[in-house]
Amino acid sequence: MKNQLITLNINGEDMDLVVAPTDLLVEVLRKKAHLTGTKKGCGQGDCGACTVIIDGKAVLSCLTLAIACQGKKITTIEGIADRKTGEMNPIQKAFLNHGAVQCGYCTPGMILSSYALLCENPHPTRQEIRRALSGNLCRCTGYILILDAVEACAAEGGVL
């Protein structure tokens, strides 16, 4: 199958990219847009490390074809800080300050799943947070401090 030129809107910017119809979004983001903040942990939709936000929903970029994302708004971990100043988003600060980060490999996916949750539901219960993050695996933290970080972020004014 031939490569084709597509335009993806990533973190508010249009990017022209040459992709094969079979290319997965995670590979295009990492190799062609050079946004390596999106991680690949399993490539099979099990671990959630590749989570990005597409039109407001947390989506697994390892199960998403890049060509299917034309005309949509893609947000990666590089795109949630303040666009002008580069200051971290409150959810990023919350993860940092609550010890919710250890090795950091699941962190971008965890943060984006949390961000999508808090955009949709600014005051989630702990159970709702658990459910929203149930597709994101972490092997270091035992999750508790991650749940604490999301709760604290919601209590302190949310992500927007």
């Binding site: 942990g41 399993c42 099990d46 980060v101 090795c103 994101n136 092997r139 270091c140 933290t141 035992g142």
Partner: protein, 789 residues
């Protein structure tokens, strides 16, 4: 209490802190220094790196678990557009392995494969997609051999079929070991004769995998003009990999540099060199371009290096008052297809039976057996998790027979500071009793155990782990770790240390320890680590050694710097050098701080203007202990951390599902350097331990195929499963440790499975002795006693 250790060092500079413990940097829960990079996606892991002209490598793996390789035809693959090179076993005549004496791993299989997923060839191509497509064009002709996956049958299999997994290992026995400390058989007979009890059981600790989220990766850049190799790798023991690369590639060590970007988890699984390290290096040297290889998740499982499964037969004696009299331990341990860390783990399991309880006599007989399954390696809690699982269940069995409660029998036997084991291992410091009592109090254990309604249960377990190891596999007598401190005006403080941050936060802890002694802020200390060329030597991240070992090296390097700076400060302040203290960027007289003090930068400037930059080093090697024999030196450690965990569970009587409601933990980890980080280590250990108890097991078909090499079929504990966790760091300070600290990342994984197993016994009376405690096993038990709903 073994307090004499404190006073031995009392005449040196700066030691007033040992008495006052007036720490300002140690003990601070500062967010990790690499955190901002990690939460913004800027942190580059090995798989994220790219270099100009970079190519990609992919590995062809065997679909068979045991087969001779008759022929490999890769001519079609080489012809494919975009394919640059192909490697097979012929290109790697030299074996590798972490234990040099028993190294038998082949980079690419030469004459036969011994496990499913074993690498047989590798392709280098312009893109990952082309490399992957080219793998399909390689034709490998196999002649299948009979397969053995059950270690208990492996010896008999070898004798009956005449087929050996390794030709030089009759009976498929990789190693045998025995230890005997005291006349255990006689003591156990006497124990029973004198009204005590002997409990026995057959236990199985299953094969689980570290399952770090970052797959292994390697990027090699070989400079063909200078004949120098630079490898970036996901490795927690870069200096060991350095030695092995030199051996396999037949290059001088000085021409090889290994840089480890931050790791996305390791837990021991990255404590070996990988196929990717070798093939990327070889490809790069042959084609003169940088080459990267990143594993798929199935390859992470194929590389193996998980926990060594063990079939364990135990007998343990208790006198009529509940004191342990002797332990008899027979073990068949599964090596998998190759040796890796195997022989070390075998002896660790033996050593680990001597603690955390006073054990007057112990006997061990173990065999490490080859099977056609994934090679096992160094899993978090190495060698401790197997016996601990069995022995904490036996503590409960003994308590029941003696009419004691689980807390009483543990308190009665728990070791205290200054304990010498029968094997001559020495425990300088222990607050284990405090940990037991604290955990029990925090969840009201004694009022719950044995008193909850059917289906609800509570279970206790204890654990401990070494904090560093006196035993090294590195073929050299040099110091185990070296730290170097550089102080100069422009860069403030730079700390060089070769220890590897695998996600646990070693870089931050090292900065905190340096800052404490130098009197500066942790956030201002630059840490240069994880590079075999630009930092100092360190054995690596394993055996929970980093905080203790590098702590001493760092403290000594920083004290050496202070020895240069204190006289300068004293001269400015008008006091004696011995009475200078330093804290918060200020030198001061420890007797009259308000009147006599001077800014840190002023002193440093004066020193540098006269002498140039201040560079000092410090080093540490754990003292060896005389009189340890029979292999008991494997397992000896400068100190030990202790922990107690209590699990509360609800068993679903319809489905057999075990729901963990709460884990209460109390730990003796000495002085926490960063309490928030320690809490994270404990939580993470519990998450893993829960998986081992209930979910995780690598399973094989009869033909040796690994059945669940994915997170779809190998389940991890997720956010919906994790219970409420209550942790408490008990008041503790180890005077033998540079800042009073002990391990916190491997002890806490030991008690979780047995605490859950003991809780299930308390809930429904099911004394299960094999991991994992699946829904199926629980339901079958409930049906067998007619208690299912």
């Amino acid at each position: 209490m073994g307090m004499n250790k404190t006073f031995e060092v009392s005449n040196r500079y700066h030691d007033y802190k040992d008495y006052t413990r007036e720490y300002t940097e140690v003990g601070r829960s500062i967010p990790r220094l690499d955190g901002p990079l990690k939460v913004t996606g800027k942190q580059q892991y090995t798989g994220d790196l790219s270099l100009p002209r970079m190519c990609y490598a992919k590995i062809l793996r065997s679909p068979h678990a045991h087969a001779k390789i008759k022929n490999i035809d890769y001519s079609k693959a080489l012809e494919m557009d975009g394919v640059l090179d192909v490697l097979t076993g012929k290109d790697f005549p030299i074996d590798y392995g972490i234990v040099a004496h028993s190294a038998n791993e082949e980079v690419l299989a030469r004459d036969k494969v011994r496990m499913w997923g074993e690498p047989v060839a590798a392709v280098c191509a312009l893109t990952e997609e082309i490399a992957e497509a080219a793998l399909d064009l390689i034709d490998v002709e196999y002649e299948l051999l009979p397969v053995v996956t059950d270690a208990r049958k492996s010896e008999q299999f070898a004798n009956e079929t005449g087929v050996l997994i390794h030709e030089d290992k009759p009976g498929n026995i990789a190693h045998q070991g025995s230890q005997e400390y005291g006349d255990v058989d006689s003591i156990l007979a006497e124990t029973e004769a004198n009204g005590g009890v002997v409990v026995e059981g057959e236990f199985y600790s299953c094969q689980y995998h570290q399952s770090f989220i970052e797959p292994q990766a390697a990027l090699a850049d070989y400079d063909v003009n200078k004949n120098k190799l630079h490898l970036w790798a996901t490795c927690q023991v870069p200096h060991y990999t350095h030695q092995q690369l030199a051996k396999v590639l037949q290059m001088p060590m000085k021409d090889i540099r290994i840089t480890v970007p931050l790791l996305g988890g390791g837990f021991g699984g990255k404590g070996v060199a990988t196929t990717a390290d070798f093939i990327t290096s070889k490809f790069s040297s042959r084609i003169g371009r940088p080459v990267k290889c990143v594993y798929e998740r199935s390859e992470v499982f194929a590389q193996g290096q998980g926990h060594h499964p063990a079939f364990m037969k135990f007998r343990q004696g208790f006198d009529k008052d509940g004191h342990i009299t002797a332990v008899d331990f027979k073990e068949i341990m599964v090596a998998g297809a190759y040796m890796s860390w195997g022989v070390v783990v075998l002896f660790y399991t033996a050593s680990m039976t001597h603690l955390p309880y006073v054990t007057p006599a112990a006997k061990f007989a173990g065999k490490l057996i080859y099977t056609n399954t994934q090679t096992c390696g160094a899993h978090r809690g190495l060698g401790g998790a197997q016996p601990r699982f069995a022995m904490e269940i036996m503590m409960d069995m003994a308590a029941e027979k003696l009419g004691m409660n689980p807390l009483q029998i543990r308190l009665l036997n728990a070791v205290e500071s200054g304990h010498t084991c029968r094997s001559m291992m020495y425990v300088p410091h222990s607050e284990y009793k405090k940990a037991l009592a604290t955990a029990a109090k925090n969840c009201d254990f004694e009022n719950k155990v044995g008193k909850l309604p059917f289906g609800k249960g509570i279970g206790m377990s204890g654990g401990y782990y070494i904090s560093g190891t006196s035993y090294t596999l590195y073929l050299s007598y040099k110091p185990h770790t070296v730290a170097m401190v550089k102080i100069e005006g422009e860069n403030n403080v730079v700390l060089y240390c070769g220890a590897t941050d695998i996600g646990q936060g070693a870089d931050m802890v090292m900065a905190q320890m340096a800052a404490e002694t130098l009197g500066v802020r942790s956030e201002d200390v630059k840490v240069e680590s994880r590079d075999t060329e630009t930092t100092t030597f360190d054995l690596g991240t394993f055996a929970s050694r980093v905080t203790y070992a590098t702590g001493w090296a760092i403290r000594r390097a920083c004290e050496a710097a202070n020895q240069k700076l204190f006289p300068v400060a004293a001269a400015i302040m008008g006091c004696r050098g011995q009475e200078v203290g330093v804290k918060d960027y200020q030198f001061y007289s420890i007797y009259e701080r308000k009147r006599k003090n001077v800014d840190w930068h002023e002193v440093v400037d004066q020193y540098i203007q006269a002498n140039g930059p201040l560079v000092t080093t410090g080093q540490f090697t754990p003292p060896r202990r005389k009189g340890i024999q029979q292999g008991g030196n494997i397992g000896h450690s400068p100190t030990f951390g202790f922990t107690c965990q209590i699990a509360e569970v609800t068993v679903d009587l319809y489905t057999g599902n075990v729901h963990v409601d709460k884990i209460t933990e109390a730990g003796d980890l000495g002085q926490p350097i960063n309490p928030m980080s320690c809490e994270g280590q404990v939580h993470g250990s519990i998450q893993m331990g829960m998986g081992h108890a209930l979910l995780e097991e690598m399973r094989y078909a009869d033909d040796g195929r690994l059945l669940n090499p994915s997170f779809h079929d190998y389940k991890l504990v997720g956010t919906m499963d994790i219970p409420e966790i209550d942790t408490e760091i008990v008041e503790s300070y180890d005077p033998s440790s540079p800042y009073g600290a002990k391990e916190s990342g491997e002890g806490p994984i030991q008690p979780t499975p047995s605490a859950i197993f003991n809780a299930v016994y308390d809930a429904i009376g099911f004394r299960c002795m094999e991991e994992p405690l699946t829904q199926e096993k629980v339901l079958n038990y409930l049906k067998s006693v007619g208690k299912n709903l």
